[in-house]
């Protein structure tokens, strides 16, 4: 509305839609089965909760270039979340925003890893490394899903997650191989993050049913590739993969609505405004 009035310089129009990653995938028109909806909800919640965490970094990153990088990753994840929640909502006639803003904590299906606080930059990088290595394998396989909507979302997401993984790997190498302090922090961060790894690879009845019809990927089938990818990074970074299973955490409860102390405050903040104005449009 302003560029014409100024005459001197022609400013290209940038359409808002192009700003919205994933916007093109909403509205494909297909309706999810109840099982597929529940599965999409898991993936969508993972993406949205992580995006919410990364959004907290903006203006606080270690360098301005990193504000931009973390913002890009967060935007990709919001795009994935929107597509997945949109699809999940088709089963019950709810919108992506109904699902994002009007579900209480026990209705959230994300794994515990994604809701963990940002911590210092090393903790964020450790969480990114695990999350993106897992998501890369997951979306890579899910791109072949017999559910065309999930396949399309995954095909787009896998390329973006590939970059997220690269970002996390680059920083893991630098923090582990930088100064004594950064190495110490990276080792602590990996130790703090690892208890949340096993949950990502838990199978349950839902994924088993969906896998039988080629809709979903069985999480346990990704573990070997995940471990190999992590080992390659850790070899180069001279880091050790923590061993020992932390059973109480690995019970897969996030997928059934059980959460750590951290999800409640995250949701309270995310949902506060929307819930002050029921029925409002924004």
């Amino acid at each position: 509305m302003s560029e014409q009035t100024h005459g001197d310089v022609t400013v290209d129009r940038v359409e808002l839609a192009e700003e919205l990653a994933g916007a093109g995938l909403t509205g494909t028109g297909s309706t999810a089965s109840p099982d597929a909806a529940e599965y999409a909800l898991r993936l969508g919640d993972d993406a949205l909760v992580l995006a919410q965490r990364l959004g907290m970094w903006i203006t606080r990153a270690p360098e301005l270039e990193e504000d931009v990088a973390l913002g890009n990753i967060g935007l990709d994840l919001i795009g994935h979340a929107r597509s997945l929640l949109h699809y999940a909502g088709t089963a019950t006639g709810r919108t992506e925003d109904d699902l994002a803003y009007w579900r209480d904590e026990p209705e959230w299906r994300n794994a515990w890893l994604f809701e963990q606080p940002n911590g210092d930059f090393a903790h964020t990088i450790a969480r990114q490394l695990v999350a993106s290595a897992y998501l890369f394998e997951l979306y890579g396989d899910l791109a072949d899903s017999t559910d065309p909507t999930l396949a399309a979302i995954a095909a787009k997401a896998v390329k973006e997650v590939d970059y997220h993984r690269d970002h996390a790997v680059q920083w893991t190498l630098r923090l582990a191989g930088g100064t004594d302090e950064s190495r110490r922090r990276m080792i602590v961060a990996i130790a703090d993050t690892w208890p949340y790894v096993d949950e990502l690879f838990e199978d349950d009845e839902l994924v088993e049913r969906l896998e039988a019809s080629g809709v979903a990927v069985r999480p346990s089938s990704l573990r070997e590739r995940f471990d190999a990818a992590i080992d390659a990074v850790f070899d180069e970074a001279r880091l050790e993969r923590p061993t020992g299973r932390t059973a109480f955490i690995a019970a897969g409860r996030g997928r059934h609505g059980g959460h750590t102390e951290h999800l409640g405050p995250l949701l309270a903040e995310m949902q506060v405004l929307a819930r002050q104005h029921p029925g409002a449009s924004w």
Partner: protein, 101 residues
């Protein structure tokens, strides 16, 4: 003589960024950024200069590695081509109107 901007005093050096907008076009200078090393520089350049599909390929060059012509020698340095307009097709006016030439 290097490009202006690099002070040599910063922990993360300055990199000049060149982006190829499309296949078939040259890489064009778009600006600069700071990064600890080449790997991060090319990634930062991707995030900073191609957020809106502006490119299909990126070069990053340490600013110190660029040699420029001496700005004060401008006159002398770029004088020579000035008298040689016979290097340009428009110099040849007699063939005007002749096809395929």
């Amino acid at each position: 003589m290097s490009t202006p901007g690099e002070t040599g005093t910063e922990p993360w050096p300055l990199w000049e960024v060149f982006v190829r907008a499309n296949r078939g076009l040259s890489h064009v200078h778009v600006g600069s950024l700071h990064a600890p090393d080449a790997d991060m520089a090319v990634r930062n350049a991707r995030d900073l200069y191609t957020r809106r599909n502006e490119g299909v390929s990126i070069w990053v060059v340490p600013a110190v590695a660029i040699t420029t012509s001496d700005p004060d020698a401008k006159g002398a340095f770029f004088e020579s081509p000035a008298g040689k307009n016979y290097r340009h097709a428009v110099y040849y006016t007699k063939s005007e109107g002749v096809k395929h030439l």
